[in-house]
């Protein structure tokens, strides 16, 4: 049915099966859209947020998707700026994942604000002192960059590419992609950092306030660093999942291994930095404010010290050690575990830097307040997930996301005569297909 749209040289499931899959995920998506509309029309009373939890699940989801979406900028940086050519085989997918993550983040932000129709005030009436302003600007700009990076891939769709204008547009965009990658990396550095700053500047909240060590807020660097470290892990994770679902090898091991190795070292250095930061905070900052480390990790049923150990030791050092050793990252199971732990780690980090801050009482006469998201919050948080799956499915089906795929999955039989009709440009297309052309 849709064979004309499917890239050459690859095999895709039958259309009805595809539609069924999209329909199922689409139902989840619609559930999310319904919750979103509820939030827009009835207001944020649909959530379980409250005056203690002004920031909650959504802001966490925002921070988390941007952190794991950091794979796009970091892979781009490595590929285009540092010239790691092996990564050309995964860069398309990294960009796609980044695009999904950032568009999701923007969507969640649009739901999260109490007055969506005034959302543009953040640009028009911008307060240059606010970290959130920086986030909004960089986020939107980088989303623009990701869109520009994603467009050439879309233009490579077999039918679109037939239109000469698009063909050339795509080609020329490829030519200048390094510029965008550099811009993206620069923007990413700032907004990942300013997202860290969002928490780090809260000097009224001792848990968030991470000062000392050269510069303030230190979370600025930690966030950028952790996104650069764990983002590629998410790219690997999603690639692995995609490979499992499609039962195909889609990306060459060289790319994965390289990315994993770089990630490993990044995670290791990050974990050391994070430990140092935590140490400084726990021994200098916190006591100066009359509190001890354990004040933040006890007297409540949820946020125990285990969360700190889980975040830094289990989801920091362990994946780092797996990924920096050749043996570790070559072992498929170990790689799986490592990237999973790394992604979990960064998500936990974002979780505590949003929700634990809110949970902890600063006034001595207030109590810990715990929070459970409402179904509307959960649905709207799953919404981007469903949207991401759909976009990946469509992109995978119709776009040459994985340049190695035909090579890694040669097709034995050559039936199907109807393709004859579109002869003249076939070869050209094939030649142009890889994004690195």
């Amino acid at each position: 049915m849709d064979s004309a749209l499917i890239p050459r040289g690859v095999k895709r499931c039958p259309f009805p099966q595809f539609i069924l899959f999209i329909a199922i995920v689409g139902a989840v998506l619609l559930w999310g859209v319904y919750a979103m509309l509820l939030c827009w029309f009835k207001g944020l009373n649909q959530t379980n947020m409250n005056d203690f939890y002004g920031f909650a699940l959504w802001i966490w989801a925002d921070l988390a998707v941007i952190a794991v979406g950091g794979g796009a900028f970091f892979t781009g940086l490595l590929r285009y700026i540092f010239g790691k050519d092996d990564l050309k085989n995964i860069i398309n997918y990294a960009v796609l994942i980044g695009f999904i993550c950032y568009s999701s983040a923007l969507l969640i932000l649009a739901i999260d604000i109490g007055q969506p129709l005034r959302g543009w005030f953040i640009f028009w009436h911008a307060n240059v002192h606010s970290m959130l302003t920086e986030v909004a600007f960089c986020l939107s700009c980088y989303f623009g960059v990701l869109t520009i990076e994603y467009i050439p891939l879309v233009l490579e769709n077999r039918q679109i590419n037939k239109v000469p204008f698009f063909h050339h547009l795509g080609h020329n965009m490829h030519e200048i992609m390094a510029v965008f990658a550099a811009t993206g990396a620069f923007l990413s550095f700032f907004h990942q950092g300013s997202l860290g700053g969002v928490a780090g500047v809260l000097y009224g909240r001792p848990f968030a306030y991470r000062e000392g060590l050269f510069i303030w807020p230190w979370t600025f660097f930690l966030f950028t660093w952790s996104a650069a470290a764990c983002g590629p892990c998410f790219t690997i994770l999603v690639t692995k999942i995609t490979e499992t679902v499609t039962r195909k090898k889609l990306v060459k091991d060289t790319a994965i291994q390289l990315l994993a190795k770089i990630s490993g070292w990044m995670i290791l250095t990050y974990s050391i930095a994070k430990t140092a930061d935590t140490w400084y905070w726990a021994t200098v900052t916190v006591p100066s404010l009359g509190q001890t480390l354990m004040d933040f990790y006890s007297n409540n049923p949820f946020y125990g010290i285990w969360i700190l150990i889980l975040e830094i030791a289990i989801c920091g050092f362990i994946p780092a050690f797996i990924l920096i050793t050749k043996k570790g990252r070559k072992n498929s199971a170990a790689l799986w575990i490592a990237v999973f732990l790394a992604v979990t780690g960064v998500c936990i980090n974002r979780w505590v830097m949003v929700l634990q801050i809110m949970a902890i009482p600063v006034l001595t006469f207030e109590n810990w307040v715990l929070y459970l998201p409402s179904w509307q919050e959960i649905a709207t948080t799953i919404l981007p997930l469903a949207y991401g799956v759909i976009l990946i499915a469509i992109s995978y089906r119709y776009l040459p996301v994985f340049p190695n795929e035909p090579e890694l999955n040669p097709i034995e039989t050559l039936p199907a005569e109807e393709e004859e009709a579109v002869e003249p440009s076939v070869e050209l297309e094939q030649e142009l297909k890889p994004a690195e052309a």
């Binding site: 129709l117 005034r118 543009w120």
Partner: protein
């Protein structure tokens, strides 16, 4: 021309460019955000000219002066009146939220007549004319049958022109059954009557006292005139005055006091006598007063010295003897000591023995009718209406005994015994109550043992409520004749509770009546006129306003300008003239009361084996528990350790809770011999082990959704206990048990 895809695309591009260059998208974006700033469903208060009207608050007997800010004809804020003798600018949360009552959804907007079964909440609107003639007809029929005495009237007050109109009406009509709602004032009036021979109100010169010995009185919990008490309490902070608070629970007053002495509940009288014991033994008393102005001191002395040694008192009260001795000494040695009683807000009259014992302490230090002491404040005598002429029916009716037994042989000194009314009706021993009028009171909520009260009300065939609001009593009435709200009507407010010098406040219309309501005074006058005869003659005024103006006479001009009338040259009479007893002196041991009998604690309901705990109601200034319920703002100020959702919390000592296996926030079933209720547990270190405290003021079934259905009305769990001397309700608690729910 063929329009192909490219042309169409080109058209779209041009359109996009043009749109971007036109104001349309930008103006729409701007306007849509402005729309959110002006959502039509968010009200915009209309601006206008600001003005201020002085009036008096009548939401409690405190009598604060208020200044209402108005914008054009809307009242927008109530503030305390500056330089008012009671509150000087301050105001309590209830008074501050009065506009929520004025404009609130609980107002009864027009006269209503019950349709269907009583209490079902189905009403039909009727005209004032029909309403008045219906009441007149019912009353006329009863009177014709010679049953005028079967008409009762429950009023929130018996002072001032409006209650006096009720009294006048009943007198000419022929019923002795005017009943005032009870409070500690009843006990104090009795004490003053018996010990000083005075028919007067108790007045306390807190402003000049510097050592307050409070037997559980909620000085900052709403006792007396609340705002005045707050001010006095703050003044003591500045001047070094001391407050000693004696009660089993760490109330706000206890927390604010200089010393909190927990005491076994219900043993306050013993402590007072124990203190007297030390003072007498150590000759710390005011000999001048005792010798010249008292009678029966020797008898009383013998009694106190004999029975109330510090050790035996320590056993009774649980306070160790050294504390008692120290307390007695510091009280007697203070330059201006003052002892007061009445638990919490003084909601219940309590034991008369206790009141006289505390009053005797004041006498012991010569603190009667003296600066910084207790005064017997005579009613301001501004109401001088022509004598009524009673016809034979009226005279016959007035000869009948009161249904509540006040003034009877058993309780000769008491004037009103509302707590005995349900029992009198339910037992049917005397005579039935055929019609009941309720004004300024909400007995179905405020009277203890709700079930019995409800049963009694069900037996009264005709109930008329004058309430401005749909309260519990109005809800169960047959006819509601809604009074103007207090901000829509004139009314005189004679001397607020506990004031040592007489003041008359004036409540006046701040805004036009918002609904089809009528001043209750006008309704009484109309009713009298409709009934004709002597009734009509006794109510010759055209209207209530005319009546009030005439009554106030020359004071009217001043009161209308200043908002209140005070007696600046008021001086309490010399001590020689203070006492109107047989002896002309202060009676330490009035024979009639048996106050020389050894102390016996009030026997509260329930046995210890089945009900191991003690339940005490407590009063909070954030919970109105009288005729008025909390308006939404005040409900908002109620802590989440008092009420959460619809669940009320009991306060319980962690130790006791541990014994019951109860944790913070857990649901539990609280049972008493009177009733049971589901409550939540709040662990509170400040309450004596073995005690459970429940706040008054919750558990309303009427009023609006902001108040109704939340928590438990403590009156459902506690019943009245008759004081053997006064017949007043002396219950301070009830035995209880607690089980996990």
């Amino acid at each position: 021309m063929k329009i192909d895809r490219r042309s169409f695309l080109s058209f779209l591009l041009g359109g996009a460019a043009g749109t971007a260059l036109s104001p349309l998208p930008w103006k729409l974006t701007d306007d849509s955000s402005i729309w959110t700033q002006m959502w039509p469903w968010t009200p915009v208060p209309e601006d206008g000219e600001a003005s201020y009207v002085n009036s008096s608050c009548t939401l409690c007997p405190g009598g604060c002066g208020i200044t209402v800010r108005k914008i054009d004809d809307r009242a927008v804020k109530i503030e305390g009146m500056k330089r008012h003798p009671v509150n000087n600018g301050g105001l309590c949360s209830l008074g501050l939220s009065g506009l929520q009552l004025l404009y609130g959804p609980t107002r009864v907007k027009t006269p209503l007549k019950r349709v269907g079964k009583r209490g079902r909440g189905r009403w039909e609107k009727i005209s004032w004319k029909d309403a008045v003639s219906e009441v007149a007809k019912t009353l006329g029929d009863l009177r014709e049958k010679g049953q005028s005495h079967t008409v009762g009237f429950i009023s929130g007050s018996d002072r001032g022109t409006v209650p006096r109109l009720f009294e006048r009406f009943l007198t000419v009509y022929g019923s002795p059954n005017l009943i005032r709602t009870p409070s500690i004032i009843d006990s104090y009036e009795l004490a003053l009557h018996l010990m000083q021979g005075a028919q007067a109100l108790p007045g306390f010169d807190f402003e000049n006292a510097n050592f307050i010995l409070s037997f559980g009185s909620g000085i900052v919990d709403g006792w007396g005139s609340p705002v005045r008490m707050f001010r006095a309490n703050s003044a003591w902070r500045d001047t070094g005055g001391k407050v000693i608070q004696i009660e089993p629970r760490l109330s706000n007053t206890a927390a604010k006091s200089d010393k909190w002495i927990p005491i076994n509940p219900g043993t306050e009288a013993a402590l007072a006598l124990g203190i007297a014991h030390i003072i007498i033994k150590e000759s710390l008393y005011d000999a001048e007063f005792i010798n010249n102005y008292s009678e029966g001191f020797e008898d009383w002395k013998a009694f106190v010295l004999g029975e109330y040694g510090p050790d035996s008192v320590a056993t009774i009260t649980g306070i160790d003897s050294t504390t008692i001795i120290a307390l007695a000494r510091s009280f007697a040695r203070a330059s201006k000591p003052l002892a007061i009683c009445g638990r919490g807000q003084g909601t219940t009259p309590g034991s008369l023995n206790e009141c006289t014992a505390v009053h005797a302490l004041n006498a012991l230090v010569g603190n009667i009718n003296k600066k910084g002491g207790v005064f017997a404040v005579a009613e301001p005598d501004y109401i001088n209406w022509p004598e009524v002429e009673m016809d034979a029916t009226a005279a016959a009716g007035m000869q009948k005994n009161r249904l509540d037994g006040a003034g009877s042989k058993k309780y000769p000194f008491s004037r009103y015994l509302l707590n005995r009314l349900p029992q009198a009706i339910n037992s049917g021993k005397k005579y039935p109550l055929k019609a009941l009028f309720v004004a300024g009171a909400n007995p179905l909520y405020t009277m203890s043992d709700s079930k019995a009260v409800k049963k009694a009300f069900d037996k009264v065939p005709f109930i008329v409520s004058f309430s401005s609001y749909m309260d519990e009593t109005a809800q169960n009435a047959d006819l509601i004749l809604p009074n103007h709200n207090y901000l829509e009507r004139y009314e005189d407010i004679p001397t607020p509770a506990g004031m040592p010098q007489p003041v008359i406040g004036l409540s006046r219309p701040v805004v036009e009546p918002q609904f089809n309501t009528k001043h209750v005074g006008d309704v009484i006058i109309l009713l009298a006129k409709a009934m004709g005869g002597t009734l009509s003659d006794a109510f010759a005024w055209d209207s209530y306003d005319a009546c009030l103006k005439e009554t106030m006479g020359y004071k009217w001009q001043v009161i209308i300008e200043k908002g209140f009338w005070s007696y600046p040259d008021f001086v309490a009479g010399p001590r020689e003239e203070s006492f109107d007893t047989v002896s002309g002196k202060f009676e330490f041991a009035p024979k009639e009361t048996g106050s020389l009998k050894p102390f016996k604690p009030v026997k509260i309901e329930g046995d210890k084996t089945n009900y191991p705990l003690l339940l005490m109601p407590y009063d909070s200034i954030r919970l109105a528990n009288g005729a008025m319920g909390d308006p939404p703002f005040v409900m908002k100020s109620v802590d989440d350790t008092v009420l959460k959702g619809t669940d009320v919390f009991i306060e319980i000592n962690p130790k006791t809770a541990g014994e019951h296996g109860l944790r913070e926030g857990q649901l539990a079933m609280l049972s008493t011999p009177v009733g049971q209720a589901k409550v939540k547990v709040h662990l509170f270190d400040g309450i004596m082990p073995g005690l459970v405290a429940l706040p008054r003021g919750l558990g309303h079934t009427a009023y609006d959704e902001y108040l109704a259905g939340k928590g438990i009305n403590v009156n459902e769990l506690i019943g009245p206990v008759e004081d053997p001397v006064s017949g007043l309700d002396a219950a301070w608690g009830v035995r209880a048990k607690l089980a996990k729910a």
